[in-house]
Amino acid sequence: MVKKLIVSLGALSLLFPAMAFADDPSAGTLNMGLNSIWVLVAAILVILMQGGFILLEAGSTRMKNAGHIAGKTVFTLGLCTLVYWAVGYAIAFGSDNAEHSISKIIGWGSYLFAPAVAAADGEALPSTIFFVFQLAFAAVSLSIAWGGFAERAKLSAYLVFTILFTAVVYPVISHWIWSPTGWLFAEGAQDYAGSTVVHLTGALAAFAATVLLKPRIGRFNKDGSANEILGHNQVFGALSVLLLWVGWFGFNAGSALGVGDGFFGYVAFNTQLGAAGGAVAALLISWLVNGKADITTTLNGGLAGLVAITATCAFVDPWAAVVIGLIAGVLVFFSAKFFEKIKVDDPIYALSVHGAAGIWGTLANGIFATDELAKKLNVGQGGIIDTGNWHQMWVQLESVLVCGGYVLVVSFIILGAMKLVMGLRVTEEQEIIGLDLSEHGAFGYPEQMKKAQSSL
């Protein structure tokens, strides 16, 4: 047996001498290879975050909608991929129009993206991997928006909105801030991994949806008081936060887009600090204010810490990462109360977790960014504390206002038109019976739901 193996290996090395005596790869190739490995792993982590959203959304809602809510994410992830490949990526990163001044607003070219199969000489990262990474971000933003649709939107609304959001909402913001030709990029807007681009964008789409859809049946009483519609599984909720938390290392540290001098490690380090601050602060504030430590608030706090540190992870000192997380945890608690007070039904707390904390994270760069890190990344300058200068704060504020304004207006137009043309919401009967049955004809929890129905 061993003999046979040696003989055949010997014969092979005679036939293919390169196997035994390959040229050493150049330093550039090695560098590109290392970058590729890390960024592709990061992209996979970000795609795995969809698992977090599946559990988060399903756990925060009721049994009768569980199969629908979990399963539709797999469908929209697929559809989002096709649309981003066909159109979205072209608008976000297409460079055919780079010479023209319209490239400040949108990109052009690379429709039905057909990348080179390998990195060209001197390229730090194959464009295939860059594409997958960017696509994963678009899909996260879309899944955040679903928070505003939960438990009452028609399946067809998910279909149409996926197409329009991935084609004309997300890529535009992504272009403005992250494309080398984007106008906010040129102004030095600091949004490292997308507190604004990904999170605020998703949250404002969710806001438009939840306002146009109106609250779920039974969420508010006639006298204006709110009822608590408890999710059916808090364990899913906690697990989802852990999945998202881990995935976030791909989200933030992957945004270094390479290995380089190991700076992505610093990004990961700050990410962990921010998330920790958010979770701790949220539990404590709910305990102090309500007299009971609230689990849902704690979960939201961890996520809010992550959302807030997303823009800032590469620009601030460790102590600032902790402060940013702590404030995000407190903010998310009061924000949730605020939306409840103005009678906006936010089933998954997307508006507070991704919206309020997204704004906070973006503005926090204006306060805490250090000049040293801004110079290192060559994006903008230090914030108020380090430089005493308000310039960066204004840039951050501008990017929040302009991006927020664009997303809000376009989302309202898209969803408003959809509401007129096709209707967004299922009928009252369907909502009561649950979307599992009305949209898919089968329950996510068949045994339990059949029992519940027969006892009606």
Binding site: N221, S225, A226, N227, E228, L288, V289, N290, G291
Partner: protein
């Protein structure tokens, strides 16, 4: 209520021969009390109210006895005492309190009669509970009620049961022991209850671990005041913005005072008289005693403002103080009182730790 009005009412209750008329009297009396609520000092109001409740219950019992006699079961074969637990035992019933009751009867002289006597009192308690329900007293949700055989026993049966509870102090038994501490005889032979209570207090005072169990059992109700001195109100539902006065203020205070009394061997059942006795015996300083009394009177007053409704013909109450009634002055008063209770609660817990 003036004395003459009251005397007239008692006479009418005493002379009423059927349940429907008795219910009519209760409704009529309720209307009077609602208008009197604002005019009287709160203690006086509760005293009047509980005297009338007692009179109604007594009448319901004697009507039930008469009914059994008519049906051929004869009159009670041995002396007995009808007991009230809970707010009835503490003479703190509101306009809408439920039935927490028990029955204790003398042991049979002959073993042969035992079963027959037991059967009679089973029947009697079921009849009494039914009659009281018809007058608008809902049965106790926790099933602490005389029609439950657990709470309708002979004196020796009760003693054996208490001993069992003391020896096996699991959560449920400790709850029962705490319920017995508030027990009061509303009808029949007071001596029977007296004998039982002597047994109870000897046992408790000899058994310090039971007191620790009692503390663990009752201190879980939190006083509804937060770290920043804010009121902890209901967050959700139709009652959002209201304050759970019953479980966030009244019950914690009742529990803390009851525990202190049990430890001190104070046998009074009403919270205010317990406080008075404890101050008299020096367990509370005069100043603390006054503060506790004032806080408890406030809770009693506010309890009358909690949401009352008539449901399926019986008077019920959510125990929650509606948001609309929480005026600025009231909130301040309430916060001050809740701080007093929190202090009291801490003191009860600390004392128990010092002992161990």
């Amino acid at each position: 209520m003036s004395d003459s009005v009251r005397a007239k009412l008692f006479t009418r209750i005493g002379n009423t021969d059927d349940v429907i008329a008795l219910r009519g009297l209760r409704d009529q009396f309720h209307e009077q009390m609602v208008t009197l609520q604002a005019e009287q000092p709160i203690e006086q109001f509760y005293t009047d109210l509980n005297e009338v409740h007692d009179a109604l219950i007594r009448r319901a019992i004697s009507l039930s006895e008469a009914k059994l006699a008519r049906l051929g079961y004869g009159s009670p074969p041995v002396p007995y005492a009808y007991l009230l637990f809970g707010s009835g035992g503490r003479q703190e019933q509101t306009l809408s309190s439920d039935q927490d009751s028990g029955l204790i009867y003398e042991d049979a002289a002959e073993e042969a009669e035992r079963e027959e006597i037991e059967e009679y009192f089973r029947l009697l308690s079921v009849t009494i509970v039914g009659t009281l329900q018809a007058i608008g007293y809902p049965p106790c949700e926790g099933n602490v009620i005389s029609s439950n055989p657990l709470w309708c026993q002979s004196l020796s049966g009760w003693r054996a049961k208490l001993d069992g509870w003391f020896q096996e102090p699991d959560w449920e038994c400790v709850r029962y022991l705490l319920i017995v501490a508030d027990c009061r005889c509303v009808y029949g032979q007071d001596m029977l209850l007296h004998a039982l209570k002597s047994h109870y207090y000897t046992d408790t005072l000899n058994n310090q671990t039971i007191v620790q169990h009692m503390i663990n059992n009752t201190m879980r109700h939190k006083v509804l005041i937060g770290v920043f001195g804010q009121l902890l109100k209901e967050q959700y539902g139709e009652e959002a913005g209201s304050l759970d006065l019953k479980y966030g203020a009244y019950i914690p205070m009742v529990n803390a005072i009851r525990l202190t009394s049990i430890k001190a061997g104070v046998r009074e059942t009403s919270t205010l008289s317990r406080i008075a006795k404890l101050s008299e015996r020096g367990f509370f300083s005069e100043q603390d005693g006054l503060a506790f009394t004032a806080a408890f009177k406030l809770f009693m007053r506010l309890r009358l403002m909690t949401m009352t409704r008539t449901e399926d013909g019986v008077y019920t109450n959510s125990g929650k103080l509606p948001h609309a009634k929480l005026t600025r002055e009231l909130v301040d008063e309430l916060k001050a009182a809740l701080r007093v209770v929190k202090k009291l609660q801490r003191r009860v817990q600390k004392q128990s730790k010092d002992r161990n």
